[in-house]
C-alpha cells in the first residue's frame, strides 16, 4: 500500500521537478525575447539608419558643388519627417492587422501598444519597438533614394509635401502588401529585404518625378558635375556597411539565414562592382571609381529581394549580371529616352531591383532556405510568376500614385525652383548656406 502510494509520488515528484525546470524556458518562450536576436536587430537598425546618410553622401558627391547641401538636407529631412510619420500613422498602415489585403488597420496608431504591449505576429523574438524601428529605417531609405531623380531642381516645400504623401500613400501600402500580410504576400511573392518595396518603388517613382519635373537647365555640355568623388566613395562604403544590417537584419534573427544574407549581399556587391569596371574597361579603356561604386550599389540592390533565398554562387551570378544592365540603363537608355534622372535612381534602383526580383524567381532554392520557395532553376514556376505579378503591381502602383501626387501638388504650388535659384545653386538660394567657405 505504501508502495502503491509512493510510486505515483515518485512520478509526481519527477514531474514537478521537470515542470519547475522547464518553467524558466517556458517563461522565456512566453515573453519570447532572445537577447542575441534583440542585440542583433537593434544594431542592424543602427546600420540601416546609417544607410541614409550614406546615400546622401553617395548622391552629394555626384552633384554640383552648389547643390550638395540641398541633397544632404533632403535626405536628412526625410529621416526626421518619415520617423514622425511612421510613429503616428505609417507603421500601423503597414503592419497593423490586415484589412482585406489592402492596408493595415489602426492598431498601432501613434505607436499605441507598440511599447506597452508587445503582442505582434511579425515580431518573433525581439521587442516590438525594435521591430517597428527596424522597419522605419526601410521607409526612410526608400524615400531618400527618390531624391536622386529630382536632384538640383525641386522646391523645398514641394519636396516636403511630396515625400510625406509618397511615404503614406505609396510606401505604406506597398510594405503592407508584401510584408504586412497584404495580397502580394498571399500571392506567394518573395521579397527578402525589399527589392520591390524599396528599390523598384523608389526607382520607378524617381523616374516619374524626373519626367514631371523636367530636365535641369543645361550649363555644361557634358554630364560631369560630380564635385567630390571621395564623398561618393565614402557614401558607398557606408551603404555597403549598412546593407549588411539591411539584408542580414531582415532575417529578424541572428541565425543561419542572417548569415546567408550577409554572405550573398557581400558577394553580389563584389561581383557587380567587378563586372561594372570590366565593362568600363572594355568600352572606355578606363575603369572609374564611380563605376566601381555604382556597381557595388547595383549589386546590393539586385540581391536585396533574394538575399536569404539563394546560394552564394547564385549571388555571384546575380551580381555579375546586374551591372551590365544598369550600365546600359544609365549610359544609353537615359540618353536615348531623354529623361533627366539626375543621379540614376531609376537606372540603378529601378532596373537593379527589377532584375533582382526576377532573379529571385529564378535562383531561389529551398535547399538553401527551407522556409523559401524553389525558383525556376530548381523546378518551381509559381514563384517566378508571383514575382512578375509583384513587379508589375509595384510599377503600376508606384508610377500612377507618384504621377497623381505630383499633379495634384502642381496645381497648388510650383514644383521647381526659379531659373535664378537653380543658377545660383539650391544651397544658397533655398537654404541660405554655402557648403564650403574659404
Amino acid at each position: 500500500m505504501m508502495l502503491k502510494n509512493m510510486l505515483p509520488r515518485c512520478i509526481g515528484l519527477s514531474l514537478v521537478l521537470l515542470v519547475l525546470m522547464t518553467y524558466p524556458v517556458a517563461a522565456a518562450e512566453g515573453s519570447s525575447l532572445n537577447s542575441g536576436d534583440t542585440a542583433f536587430l537593434i544594431i542592424c537598425t543602427g546600420l540601416v539608419m546609417l544607410m541614409t546618410p550614406g546615400l546622401a553622401l553617395f548622391y552629394g558627391g555626384m552633384v554640383k558643388r552648389k547643390n550638395v547641401l540641398s541633397i544632404l538636407m533632403q535626405c536628412f529631412v526625410i529621416m526626421a519627417l518619415v520617423s514622425v510619420q511612421w510613429i503616428m500613422i505609417g507603421y500601423t498602415l503597414s503592419f497593423g492587422s490586415d484589412i482585406s489585403g489592402i492596408i493595415g488597420g489602426l492598431d498601432w496608431l501613434g505607436f499605441k501598444n507598440v511599447v506597452f504591449n508587445s503582442d505582434n505576429a511579425y515580431v518573433g523574438t525581439v521587442p516590438h519597438s525594435v521591430f517597428a524601428l527596424f522597419q522605419l529605417m526601410f521607409a526612410i531609405i526608400t524615400a531618400a533614394i527618390i531624391t536622386g531623380s529630382f536632384a538640383e531642381r525641386m522646391r523645398f516645400s514641394a519636396f516636403i509635401i511630396f515625400i510625406f504623401s509618397w511615404t503614406t500613400l505609396v510606401y505604406d501600402p506597398l510594405a503592407h502588401w508584401v510584408w504586412g500580410g497584404g495580397f502580394l504576400s498571399k500571392l506567394g511573392a518573395l521579397d527578402f529585404a525589399g527589392g520591390m518595396v524599396v528599390h523598384i518603388s523608389s526607382g520607378v517613382s524617381g523616374l516619374i518625378t524626373a519626367l514631371v519635373l523636367g530636365k535641369r537647365r543645361e550649363e555644361n555640355p557634358g554630364p560631369i558635375v560630380s564635385h567630390n568623388l571621395p564623398m561618393t566613395v565614402l557614401g558607398t562604403a557606408l551603404l555597403w556597411f549598412g546593407w549588411f544590417g539591411f539584408n542580414a537584419g531582415s532575417a529578424l534573427k541572428a541565425d543561419e539565414i542572417a548569415g546567408l544574407a550577409l554572405l550573398t549581399t557581400n558577394t553580389a556587391a563584389a561581383a557587380a562592382s567587378l563586372s561594372w569596371i570590366i565593362i568600363e574597361w572594355i568600352r572606355q579603356g578606363k575603369p572609374t571609381v564611380l563605376g566601381a561604386a555604382s556597381g557595388a550599389v547595383a549589386g546590393m540592390v539586385a540581391i536585396t529581394p533574394a538575399a536569404g533565398f539563394v546560394s552564394p554562387l547564385s549571388a555571384l551570378i546575380i551580381g555579375l549580371l546586374v551591372s551590365p544592365l544598369c550600365y546600359f540603363a544609365v549610359s544609353r537608355l537615359k540618353t536615348y529616352l531623354g529623361y533627366d534622372d539626375a543621379l540614376d535612381a531609376f537606372g540603378i534602383h529601378g532596373i537593379g531591383g527589377t532584375f533582382g526580383a526576377l532573379a529571385t524567381g529564378i535562383f531561389a532554392s529551398k535547399r538553401v532556405n527551407p522556409a523559401g520557395v524553389d525558383g525556376i532553376l530548381y523546378g518551381g514556376v509559381h514563384l517566378f510568376r508571383a514575382e512578375l505579378i509583384g513587379i508589375i503591381v509595384t510599377y503600376l502602383y508606384a508610377a500612377f500614385m507618384t504621377w497623381l501626387i505630383l499633379n495634384v501638388l502642381k496645381g497648388l504650388i510650383p514644383l521647381r525652383v526659379s531659373r535664378e535659384e537653380e543658377e545660383a545653386g539650391l544651397d544658397v538660394s533655398v537654404h541660405g548656406e554655402n557648403a564650403y567657405n574659404m
Binding site: 552648389k66 550649363e219 555640355p221 544658397v428
Partner: protein, 112 residues
C-alpha cells in the same frame, strides 16, 4: 598684344569655351573668383544669425591675343555671356608687353 580678362557667371563658361573654340581661339586661363559689383547682397544664416553676403562666385577667363583679335573676342564674350541681368560680369582689357612659350622659347605674337 592684349589681355582680355572676363569675369563671368560660372554657368556661362562652357558656352563661352565652345564659342571661342569655333573662332579658333583656344588659349585661355581660367579660375574661380568671388566678385562684388552691382549685384545685391543676399542673406545667409548660421544658427539663427543673419549675415549679408556680398561676394558672389564668378569665373575669370583670361585670354591673351593679338591686338586685332581683341574686338572680335570681346564681341563674342558679350554675345554668349549676356543675359541682360545684373551680375553678367565685366570685361577688362590690359596691354601686354611680351609673351613667351616655355616649351620652345618663342616670343611675341608667334608664341600665341
Amino acid at each position: 598684344m592684349k589681355k582680355i580678362e572676363a569675369v563671368i557667371r560660372p554657368t556661362s563658361l562652357e558656352v563661352l569655351k565652345k564659342a571661342l573654340n569655333e573662332m579658333e581661339v583656344r588659349g585661355m586661363t581660367v579660375y574661380n573668383v568671388m566678385g562684388r559689383g552691382l549685384q545685391k547682397d543676399i542673406k545667409q544664416y548660421y544658427r539663427g544669425q543673419e549675415v549679408e553676403v556680398d561676394l558672389f562666385p564668378k569665373v575669370k577667363v583670361e585670354i591673351v591675343c593679338r591686338d586685332h583679335w581683341k574686338d572680335r573676342i570681346v564681341e563674342k564674350i558679350i554675345k554668349v555671356c549676356q543675359t541682360g541681368q545684373i551680375g553678367d560680369g565685366k570685361i577688362f582689357v590690359y596691354p601686354v608687353e611680351d609673351i613667351i612659350r616655355i616649351s620652345t622659347g618663342e616670343r611675341g605674337d608667334s608664341a600665341l
